[in-house]
């Protein structure tokens, strides 16, 4: 045991005050858990974990497993502090009656925010357990050691007692002060190790229960009926006429309607599917959208709310005096979350209470929205989490939960609502489109002296489609750091004396329904910013990696940059110096970027077919510094996924719209990357065990988007100013030269 820990115990009389055990009813679950509405008191150790008589522990976690492995990684954190084996520890499903409120599972927060909370709670519990063991074994605490949940006297393993024997099945009834010192990193046995994920065996065998699998007795199957593809956010969808006779030939199906919200329910799922497709509804088709062709022009000329994100030095003067100036305008499209399995929810609404099962990133946030919708106090609404398919941000999980709730209320029975593919694709909270205008300048020696970024985009929409169809007026999220120009990704990693960043916020109601999509707006920012800076390196005749090294002073940014260059065996040289007349040309590019914290760098090797315009990534390299990485294998898998998803978003993905509707409604009209186009990927984790953990689920994507843009220039000598790099767009750019 470390000295710090021993001192705490000697001084720590306060810790054991009130440590009275009381009997509980169940051997596995402490009494009362699950019976009262949460959130449970975060200031109680019992809220976070329970020790069972069989010397195992249950940890209560407020973060959702979304496929990233956090349900295993957070157990590693707790097992480490408690000195338990991974086989002795488990967690339970998120439930507003059971699990603590740690906020939503977004912004890569699980390990960053959740890790420290869980770690200190486990440390506190361990101290209490040691104190009890000390009395039991009649030995001072500093002479005790713990292994696999068994406390024994140092040098006398026979004198031993297990956690289970000490408190098994009892509550701690101990305040969580957060002051118990945690284990020093040098003593780690589980954190930092490549523990395999606990959910994989069930996921490959068909035993894993996804939300889409959940069934309850007496339930009906539901489907919603909406126009195929949303119109402008502010317009919602207006019913002109519903022809109920159009589904009369499906006797099992029942039409349910409240305002503009329309659904069908049936005992048989196929009846519900058929009825939803067959029901004749006339919708108001007044044009509300600019259409794909005019989108960016409308954005650029719209009346905006402007915000200065940063303004230091004198950008204009510095640019006038600089040796080299690069300036360009860039465009990034709306992109969809498009979870692989459309969202699903099951609601059981009774007269004075409701139970909703769904795939939300935030059970407590969703509970609040549902309570408002039902006009019930939050204590009467219980939300349980079941993993769906990967969500990558705010897909339609809240909307489907609300819609299922309305259907259940109207039907008077539990309703399982499965969104169809076109519901999910067509009514998503899309990652917003973006226009970025960048100017940057360098002196003769290669130092960046000035940087300016102006960005146009709208924010996130705060009212779900269901609520809107029921009459709630559209509203926006308050403008926040992650919805405007990013001071981090727009030049923030470089030491630049003169900087000006401006956000031009568009009114969301005139555009598509926006939401946070994995690494929100960052791909667009870096595609624009890092290409502009890359152009400066080109004008200087410098190697783009060397140029970045020269202008980055922060050692952690340099760390990831060097790590990725090394992994990719970067060959120094000026970009576009090996242009050829060949039909198929190859290019290599480098870039840096992140989301809110952590450090990302990427190298892309791409191939451009100049005759067909087809671009494929051959190899993408990504490096991340996320501070202390609890499980490097999980982060490598996250990097791998981020690189492939970035390739998909840079080459394929674009939500298209007509003047009336979104027209991206399935995998044909919204293509994503396939096996034959998939790059080889290499992920590098820059492990910094002594640093605070920061996010790792989205911090390489911006860098990869930049690397792809720069690789295209290296291959062709032409800058792409708009993505995705579709054949049509590539051919047009190559023709312009």
């Amino acid at each position: 045991m470390s000295l710090r820990r021993r001192n705490f115990l000697k001084a720590g009389g306060a810790l054991v005050i009130g440590f009275n055990l009381r009997s509980v009813l169940s051997a596995q679950e402490p009494a009362g858990r699950g019976e009262t509405p949460g959130p449970p008191d975060p200031k109680q150790v019992d809220t976070w974990l329970a020790i069972h008589a069989d010397n195992t522990a249950t940890v209560y976690i407020g973060f959702a497993e979304l496929g990233q492995g956090n349900s295993t990684a957070l157990l590693q954190v707790a097992a480490e502090e408690l000195d338990l084996e991974m086989s002795q520890i488990k967690t339970v499903r998120l439930d507003t009656n059971v699990t603590p409120n740690q906020g939503g599972t977004y912004s890569s927060a699980s390990i960053q925010r959740g890790g420290p909370q869980l770690r200190t709670a486990a440390a506190e519990a361990r101290f209490a357990l040691l104190k009890l063991a000390s009395e039991k074994l009649n030995t001072p605490v500093d002479r005790l050691t713990v292994s696999k949940g068994a406390v024994s006297v140092s040098g006398n393993a026979a004198q031993s007692v297990t956690y289970g024997a000490l408190v098994g099945g009892e509550l701690f009834q101990l305040p969580f002060t957060g002051s118990a010192p945690v284990k020093p990193v040098s003593e780690y046995k589980v954190v930092g190790k490549r523990v395999p994920r606990n959910d994989t065996p069930d996921k490959v065998s068909g035993k894993y229960v996804y939300m889409q699998h959940v069934r309850v007795p007496g339930m009906l199957h539901g489907r919603v009926v909406r126009p195929r593809g949303q119109s402008a956010y502010g317009a919602g969808a207006k019913v002109v006429n519903v022809d109920e006779s159009s589904i009369r030939n499906i006797p099992g199906a029942r039409l349910l309607r409240r305002g503009d919200f329309i659904g069908v329910v049936a005992e048989n799922e196929w009846d519900a599917v058929r009825a939803a497709q067959q029901l004749k509804v006339t919708w108001d088709t007044t044009p509300t959208l600019p259409g794909s062709g005019a989108l960016y022009d409308q954005m650029r000329s719209a009346k905006t709310t402007d915000r200065v994100v940063a303004d230091r030095g004198d950008v204009a003067a510095a640019i006038t005096q600089a040796a080299h100036v690069a300036a360009a305008k860039y465009r990034g499209p709306y992109q969809a979350h498009a979870p692989f399995g459309p969202n699903c929810a099951l609601a059981d609404v009774k007269a004075d209470s409701a139970l909703i099962m769904c795939s939300t990133q935030d059970v407590y946030g969703t509970r609040g929205g549902l309570a408002r919708l039902l006009g019930m106090p939050v204590e009467k609404v219980r939300v349980q989490y079941y993993e769906g398919s990967g969500t990558y941000g705010h897909s339609c999980y809240d909307d489907v939960a609300q819609a299922a709730t309305v259907l259940s209320q109207l039907a008077g029975k539990p309703v399982r609502l499965q969104f169809m593919r076109w519901d999910e694709h067509g009514w998503d909270n899309y990652g917003p489109a973006h226009v970025g205008e960048v100017r940057a300048a360098a002196d003769r020696a290669g130092n960046i002296v000035a940087y300016e970024y102006e960005g146009w985009q709208h924010g996130w929409c705060g009212v779900e489609t269901t609520a809107q169809l029921l009459g709630t007026p559209p509203a926006e999220f308050p403008a926040g750091a992650v919805m405007g120009v990013s001071a981090l990704n727009c030049g923030g990693m470089y030491a630049i004396p003169n900087v000006r960043l401006i956000t031009h916020q568009l009114p969301a109601k005139d555009y598509l329904k926006g939401g946070w999509l994995r690494s929100p707006l960052d791909l667009s920012f870096s595609f624009a910013s890092e290409q502009t800076l890359d152009q400066l390196a080109y004008l200087l005749g410098m190697d783009p990696y060397e140029f970045r090294r020269r202008n980055i002073k922060d050692e952690r940014w340099l760390g990831v940059l060097d790590a990725v260059a090394q992994a990719a065996r970067w060959k120094p040289g000026r970009a576009a110096s090996k242009l050829s007349d060949a039909k198929v040309v190859t290019g290599v590019g480098i870039g840096v970027g992140t989301h809110l914290a952590s450090y990302g760098a990427a190298v892309g090797v791409i191939e451009v077919n100049k005759e067909t315009g087809r671009v494929v990534a051959k190899h993408l390299y990504g490096a991340i510094d996320a501070g202390q990485v609890v499980n490097p294998a999980f982060v490598e898998n996250q990097i791998s996924g981020q690189l492939v998803q970035t390739a998909s978003r840079m080459f394929k993905e674009e939500v298209t719209l007509s003047a009336t509707n979104v027209t991206s409604l399935d995998w044909n009209s919204y293509p994503i990357l396939r096996f034959e186009e998939c790059p080889e990927v290499t992920g590098v984790v820059v492990q910094r065990l002594e640093q605070r953990s920061t996010g790792a689920g989205e911090e390489v994507m911006a860098a990869a988007a930049a690397a792809i843009g720069n690789a295209f220039f290296d291959a062709t000598g032409v800058r792409m100013h708009e993505y995705p790099l579709t054949p049509k767009r590539v051919l047009a750019a190559l023709q312009r030269g």
């Binding site: 490959v204 196929w270 791998s640 996924g641 990357l673």
Partner: protein, 169 residues
């Protein structure tokens, strides 16, 4: 109208009440409560609902239940036994080598697409025991993954191919 239909799923005979045009997926999910095949698009675009019908990968979301009468349907759950019967291994392993390889490669992220991935890869390896990478990519090209698990799925199929070759030796 619902009629009594006899279907063979995972080497067991079932009698289900369904209208003949009901997509097989809804019968497997709601009548047989199987969790392997799952809804993804309902349009045969993604491969989430894949099953084997007489050893051939089919999209159960667009296959009418009546079309599999007299045929043998294998889902993810029945894959180890299907493999054992093919390879004359007794008793059947707990997992098909492709399933085991997905664990060994830690290929899974959300895992929702893995039903289709495993079904399709099992079909491939039953026909082409030692596919090269281009053959794997080509065979798997109709199966989408949104998490970007493709590179590890390719590695897992290669690993499974080796493991199966060793069983045969």
């Amino acid at each position: 109208m619902a009629t009594q239909l006899k279907i063979r799923v995972n080497e067991r005979q079932w009698t289900v009440a369904a209208s003949p045009d009901t997509p097989l997926l809804y019968v497997l999910s709601n009548e047989l409560l199987l969790q392997g095949p799952r809804f993804g698009c309902g349009l045969a675009q993604c491969g989430s609902c894949s099953v084997l019908v007489d050893g051939v990968e089919r999209r159960s979301c667009v296959t009418p239940v009546s079309a599999v009468q007299g045929k043998s349907v294998t889902t993810l759950e029945g894959l180890p036994a299907w493999y054992a019967a093919q390879k004359k291994v007794s008793p059947p392993p707990a997992l098909h080598p492709v399933q085991q390889a997905m664990i060994d490669e830690q290929a899974v992220q959300c895992g929702y697409c893995f039903n289709g991935m495993i079904i399709k890869a099992s079909e491939l390896l039953s026909k082409v025991p030692k596919p090269d990478e281009a053959q794997i990519r080509s065979a798997m090209n109709g199966h989408l993954c949104r998490c970007g698990a493709y590179p590890r799925v390719i590695k897992a199929i290669q690993r499974a191919s080796q493991a199966m070759a060793e069983v045969t030796k």
